[in-house]
């Protein structure tokens, strides 16, 4: 595995190029172009805010902000896994014709989603400032949260991208899983303290501490719980190695399967 990591580092320029191509290509040809990176989450925010403030009253103060700081990281996570899982299939031409460490493809995809999220954080910061809450000192730990989430997303994208090559349904199964997963994560609503079973399940979910941490830092302006984050980190690292290991085993026959 160390050999693979070394090789991936040698191919860093390829990752950089793929990320650039992806970011630039994503909205190419559309009128607003790169602005869509910002328009998309803004509209999602608007819809959820309207729904949860006026239709279903969540009872949460400044719900739009409460939601926004969690929603953006969630979108990163889910799109990384969804798009990442098809990243090998999508680059069939490359995979069947030329050698490069195959890990590069999901890495590049997740990285481009990640950069997309970081760009959207500009809007988050502006929203936080506009809301009057101000930016708390705990913002210094934000990069750590980003990294944990990145590792978790990458590990899962690796695993599922390799499986999808052999088993196409995986892509659709992931779509369903992710739709359910958002409700096991305190993105749209708070953890129901009065329902211990639901709470236990939600806290088992490694994404919950991550989402809560974002909210602690950006909404409540406090330092997040290190303990819970360690749990997520542990989970992320394990998944990362499982993902890489499985990918390493499965990649041998990619060219034949595609």
């Amino acid at each position: 595995m160390i050999k693979t990591f070394k090789e991936i580092i040698n191919y860093r320029e390829m990752i950089v190029n793929l990320v650039k191509k992806d970011l630039r290509g994503r909205y190419k040809g559309s009128v607003f172009g790169f602005l869509w990176t910002f328009i998309n989450p803004l509209f999602q925010l608007l819809i959820y805010t309207l729904a949860f403030t006026y239709i279903l009253d969540s009872g949460i103060d400044q719900y739009y902000l409460w939601l926004f700081v969690a929603l953006i990281p969630w979108i990163f996570f889910s799109s990384s896994i969804l798009g990442g899982s098809t990243s090998i299939r999508a680059s069939k031409d490359l995979v069947t014709k030329i050698y490069f460490p195959r890990e590069v493809l999901p890495i590049a995809y997740v990285t481009s989603c990640f950069i997309n999220m970081l760009l959207t954080f500009i809007i988050i910061f502006i929203t936080v400032l506009v809301s009057g809450r101000g930016i708390h000192l705990s913002v210094v730990v934000l990069p750590i949260i980003w990294i944990i989430e990145y590792i978790l997303a990458l590990g899962m994208a690796m695993l599922f991208s390799a499986i999808t090559v052999y088993f196409r349904d995986m892509e659709h199964i992931m779509g369903i899983i992710l739709q359910g997963w958002i409700y096991l994560t305190p993105v749209l609503f708070q953890i129901p303290e009065e329902k211990p079973a639901a709470k236990a399940i939600m806290m088992f979910n490694p994404m919950s501490p991550i989402i809560l941490a974002y909210r602690d830092i950006l909404y409540d302006g406090v330092f997040p719980s290190a303990e819970r984050l360690l749990y997520s980190l542990g989970f992320a690292v394990i998944f990362f190695f499982i993902g890489f290991y499985a990918f390493g085993r499965l990649k041998r026959h990619f060219a034949e399967e595609l």
């Binding site: 090789e7 390829m14 190029n17 995979v95 014709k97 030329i98 050698y99 088993f167 034949e256």
Partner: protein
């Protein structure tokens, strides 16, 4: 690596592919048809081993589907072997799929970066090579235009320039030197030689044996997933060519015989059909018919039958021309080997047996039997007949056979043969132009129309080609 002087070590590599009959990778299909065998396994490589020394250039040859491209793909690590090992020392670049990852909307310059990065080059390494790449591609004026505006030649030039400037330790090439115009090809070729001089190990898969001979030190001939022969390219290629030619000829022969068989069947069917209609008409116009037949019979006896058959018989080429009075006629003509097997392709110096069946409609008809051979372009190669070869006229039976044995010295080309049955006075009984076509094949590279046996003796030593050429190395 067992030997540090080796750049590539391939050890007993086997590779199977699953040929899917109906590929089901959906869950439903996987569960429902779990028991059903959905694929066949085909073993493409059945145990291949070879070493390539650092700085050596090797060529892989073999007919389509023999496994040479699979071998190359194993070397590039696109495929992994099922069994055995492939070890490579150093950076590998491949000229297999040129322009992998090119993006049509990006400029040539940007694509250089993308493409080179796929070979594992860092930004700095690409920066260092950028100028060389652009110079080599001769695209200075277009390098900032999007690649979609390039002609296909320009596109390939750019791709080739990137791949060849990677400065790999091992360069893998698949049928590549067909890039661009003659000048650029020349340049690529020179560059390849330069790269080889610098010590790069090169593996080429090609059908162009000449190119392999110019660059490679060793050729590996792969057949049916194993290495059939290896050694000095020129010698291996000679035997390879011989084998290929033999295979090709067998194939052509098979097709030709099939075609003839089909023609025969069609002919017989048509004849049958005609006979049926004839029978119908006979019924209706019985009397008239009888009358006419009587007359025809009389005519035939009197020897004034003409147009005796408008239809060409099946044994002729479709474009044959038949004339004659019909007092005697050919009913079958075959070209065969000495054992009587019908053939289409004859080796130079192989005897051609023209086997003829005839019918005569008069007793004791005196005749001359002859033939002529023409090359496809119309050159009259040879012609003779029984009157030339012998001073006795032949007397035909009512039904009989003849064999003409031709000592064929004709060099490889397409030929056709004419056959004629004349009266001693020159009246044509049956004369067929282009009865049969045939080909000749030869493994010797002599030139001209016909082989004239020649022996070279220089300074007292006679130079002859041995039957089997083992004398290399």
């Amino acid at each position: 690596m067992e030997d540090t002087n080796n750049a590539i070590e391939v050890r007993d590599v086997k590779k199977k592919f699953k040929i899917f009959i109906d590929k089901g990778s959906e869950l439903k299909e996987r569960i429902l048809f779990k028991e059903r065998k959905q694929y066949e396994e085909r073993e493409v490589l059945k145990g291949i081993s070879f070493d390539v020394k650092k700085g050596e250039a090797i060529g892989l040859i073999g007919h389509n589907g023999c496994g040479k491209s699979t071998t190359l793909k194993l070397l590039t690590r696109i495929y992994y072997p099922d069994e055995g090992t492939v070890e490579m020392a150093g950076r590998v670049s491949s000229l297999i799929e040129l322009g992998a990852g090119f993006h049509p909307d990006m400029s040539g310059r940007e694509n250089i970066y993308t493409n080179a990065s796929i070979f594992g080059l860092s930004k700095k390494e690409i920066d260092d090579r950028l100028e060389d790449i652009i110079d080599f591609s001769e695209l200075e004026d277009f390098i900032d235009n999007p690649v979609r505006t390039y002609s296909s030649g320009m596109y390939m030039r750019l791709a080739f320039s990137v791949a060849i400037n990677v400065d790999a330790d091992i360069l893998l090439i698949d049928e590549i030197l067909a890039v661009g115009d003659a000048n650029f090809q020349r340049k690529c070729f020179d560059r390849l030689r330069e790269i080889k001089r610098k010590g790069t190990t090169i593996v080429i898969v090609s059908h162009s044996l000449g190119q392999i001979e110019q660059i490679c030190d060793t050729t590996y001939w792969i057949e049916d997933g194993v290495i059939k022969e290896s050694g000095v390219p020129r010698f291996v290629h000679e035997r390879y060519m011989y084998e290929m030619e033999r295979k090709r000829i067998l194939q052509v022969e098979k097709e030709q015989l099939k075609k003839q068989q089909r023609r025969k069947e069609e002919y017989l069917k048509e004849m049958e059909e005609e006979a049926k209609q004839e029978a119908k008409r006979k019924k209706k116009e019985k009397e008239q018919k009888e009358e006419a037949e009587r007359k025809a019979e009389e005519d035939r006896k009197a020897g004034i039958v003409d147009n005796f058959k408008k239809k060409l018989p099946y044994f002729c080429e479709p474009d044959a021309v038949r004339t004659g009075t019909g007092e005697a006629e050919f009913v079958d003509i075959k070209l065969t080997d000495k054992d009587g097997n019908e053939k289409y392709i004859f080796d130079t110096e192989e005897k051609i047996y023209v086997r003829i069946k005839y019918k005569a409609y008069k007793d004791d008809l005196k005749a001359v039997l002859g033939y002529g051979v023409f090359r496809q372009d119309g050159l009259h190669c040879y012609g003779t007949n029984t009157a030339i070869e012998s001073n006795q006229p032949i007397t035909l039976q009512r039904e009989g056979e003849a064999v003409i044995v031709i000592e064929n010295n004709l060099l490889p080309a397409y030929y056709y043969i004419d056959n004629a049955l004349h009266g001693t006075d020159g009246v044509k009984y049956d004369d067929i132009v282009r009865t049969k076509t045939f080909m000749t094949a030869s493994y010797k590279h002599d030139i001209g129309i016909s082989r004239i046996k020649s022996t070279f003796t220089v300074d007292g030593k006679t130079y002859l080609m041995g039957e089997k050429k083992d004398g290399e190395q």
